[in-house]
Each structure stands twice: as structure tokens, then as C-alpha cells.
Amino acid sequence: MSLTIANSLDEILTSLAAGARPIAGGTDLVVGARQGKAPLPDSLVAIDRVTALSKIETVNGQVRIGAGVTHSRLMNDPMIVERYPGLADAAALIGSPSTRNVGTIGGNVMNGSPAMDTGAPLVTLGAVVELHSVGSTRQVALSDLWTGPGRTSANPDELCVYIIIPHPPARSGSAYVRLEYRRAMEIAVVGAGASVVLAEDGSIVSGRVAMTSVAPTIVELANASDAMVGLSPVEAATVIGAMASDQAVPISDLRGSDRYRRHTIGVMAARALDAAARRAGGEPIGVPVNRSLGIGAAR
């Protein structure tokens, strides 16, 4: 096996073109190899020293998050917490402090797990990824990126360089919650992200909901915005909860049966919506919502 430590974006892209796989924090790649899921690739290029990948910048009315930004930084970045609290909720739930220190948003998104925590909030915030390869750049919507468990539509020579999120409208809020059996080192049994925009009277103008661990990929709840428009957040939570249980196609595994997941995704979707709407209304609910509102394990 070989490992190159890249010092520039060009160096990474050239290595990828020559057949190397990127490693950021290695918390999926190395841990997966140790567990025997997939052997380490023959050729790796470490991307964690390239500063272009670790910036959080505002460009043309959008926020551009470098793929190498760690979960610790996301959950502590004041701008992310203020504008995209749903994303900060997710980052704060990942693993333990050490997982969050090395694990990156790019690794989370590109690993393509249906249980990834940053996926659902990113979908509800309208994020796209920017993929670079030697001589080419393209933006891909998340719904087109994830093609199955652990699979993406990115080519092997493409690097995710940025995750781009539009600025949220006024009177909007977002949140991500997950069902967990313990407070750390956990994988979502199910999870839900929501974003909503409120009218001045507090009714819902529009919203999006996405679900974790109930399908082969992170999935957006279809027709959510139409179903919510004009409703109060309390009414909308009931409607969205029922729709989430209806649209979920979960599997049974060690962590929960399909029936349990189908039921609890409804509960989580309703709670995500409730928290997002309360934030949109100006209520300061700390990150992560799971801890602030006591969702999931007691401690």
C-alpha cells in the first residue's frame, strides 16, 4: 500500500487520476478496513493538509463548506450554528469528540451511508456538492449523488471539494434529530431533518424534510412542502409524521425492525419539524436538538 500526503488540490486530483483513493479523516475508510468491510485501497492520497478544503466561506449569496471541514468545526462555527443549525445538530451527534475531530463533512457525504447524519439536513437546506477532477468541475444535487448504500454517482477520479448551501430565507429554521440508544458512539436508528419558512402569522410558507436510515440512501420526503403550506407548525408536524411513516421503506437489522423504524421515523420527522419551526420563530434551541430537547437516550 502507498500513501501520499498531498499539499495542494492539483496534487490530489493528479493522484486520483492515477488511481488513488482519497482519505480525509479515515474514520470510515480505515475503520471499515479494520472491520473487514473492504480492504484498504492499494494507493491512498491524504487530503487533510490542503487548506483549500478546510475553509468555510461566503461566496455569491451562498456558503461554501470545504469537504475537509471536520464535524467539530461545523458544530462550533457561529455562522453555521446560526444559519444552518440543522447541519450543526447533525455534526454534534457524530461519534465522539475524537470522531468529530478527524471525521469530515466530505467523508460523511461521499461515504454514501444511508445512516450518515449530515445528509438529511443538507438535503433540507438545498445543498449541492462540487466535484473536481483534472480539467473538469461539476455541481451535483445530493439526490443525484447517492445511488445506493455506500455508492455515489461520482467517478473514482472526482474529488468533492465543496458542499454549497444557499443562504436561508428570513423567518426560516432547520433542525436534525435522530433516534439513538445512547448519547455517543451511536448510529442513527432513524433520523430526520427539517427546514421551514414561516409567514408573519407563524403559519408555514414552505418546508423540506429528509430521512436517515429508512431507505437505501438518505431520502427527501416527497410532497412535504405542499402538504404543509398554510398549516400551523403543530398541525404540520402531525401531517409530516404520518407522511414520513408512509413513505419510509426501512429494513430490519440489529438496530431495529422495519416496523419499529417505520413508526419512529414518523415521531422523529414530527420532532424535527417542531424544532425547525421553533427556531424559525426565534426560539433559541441549542445544538444538538437531541440534547436540548431530551430526544433519544437519557444521557
Binding site: M1, S2, L3, I5, I23, G26, T27, V30, V31, A33, R34, Q35, L40, L44, A46, D48, R49, S72, G95, S96, P97, S98, T99, N101, V102, R183, A184, M185, R299
Partner: protein, 154 residues
Amino acid sequence: MNETYELEVNGVRYPINAAMDRNLLSVLRTEIGLTGTKEGCDDCECGACMVLIDGQPVNSCSYLAAQAQGREVTTVEGILDGDNLHPLQRNLLEEGGVQCGFCTPGMIMSAQALLTRNPSPTEEEIRIGLSGNLCRCTGYQRILAAVERTAAES
């Protein structure tokens, strides 16, 4: 195939000759000979292998040693103050936060990183800071007490 590179551990530069897929834990213990860092699960779950890389806690069993090139690695051996125990070590002993001691080096590294970042943490913040470290023996309360006492003393 082995390759040669250098690692900086506790302020000392060590030449390493090892395969590139070796994890940092095994290189620390068997190549460098620093056995304070423990192997519990070897699967990124228990935190016995916790070291600091550039001051941040990292599970060394699941981190490629070669990826730590150019970074500062700190192990439990590196926090001793000469021959004196570090306050966290002393307080863990005095509060009864050590029984078999297997989790202790990892606990110390996580606690040290926490206190550097946040010198007066709440109990909840200590729990979060240590949430990647499992202890088979103590029931955690005495470990929390030792960290609280260390924070209060400094």
C-alpha cells in the same frame, strides 16, 4: 513493503520503518516502544488508544501512522511533568478513578484535551468530552470527580 518516514511523538523525532498500512497505535507500541497507549477493542469503539494529534484526541488504533507525519503526537508518557504525576493522574488516583487502569491513559488524553480547550467545564461537558472512552471498572463517577477536581485546582 516497508517505507521510511519520521514521526514526532512527545517532542521527539523518531525514524520509522514500517508498512504504510500500519496504524498509529501499533507503531507507537511496537516500533517506538511507548506502551502507555493501550489497545482495547482495536476497532475505534473504546478509547483506550486515545492520543493527541496536534492537541486533539484521536483513536490511534484507527488512524494510519503515516498520516501523522508532520503533526505533533502526544501520548500519556508526554504529559508527565518530569518525574511528577500530571494533576489528572494524581487526581484519578486520589479520587479512586483508577481500578484496573486500562482505560486510564485514554481517559487522561481526552480529559487533557478537554481542559485545554475548556478549563472550567460543566459536568455535562466533561461527560461529552469523555464520551469516546469506556471504563469497565469504575462506574465513571470517580473519573468525573477527578476531572472536576483538576479543573477546580487550576
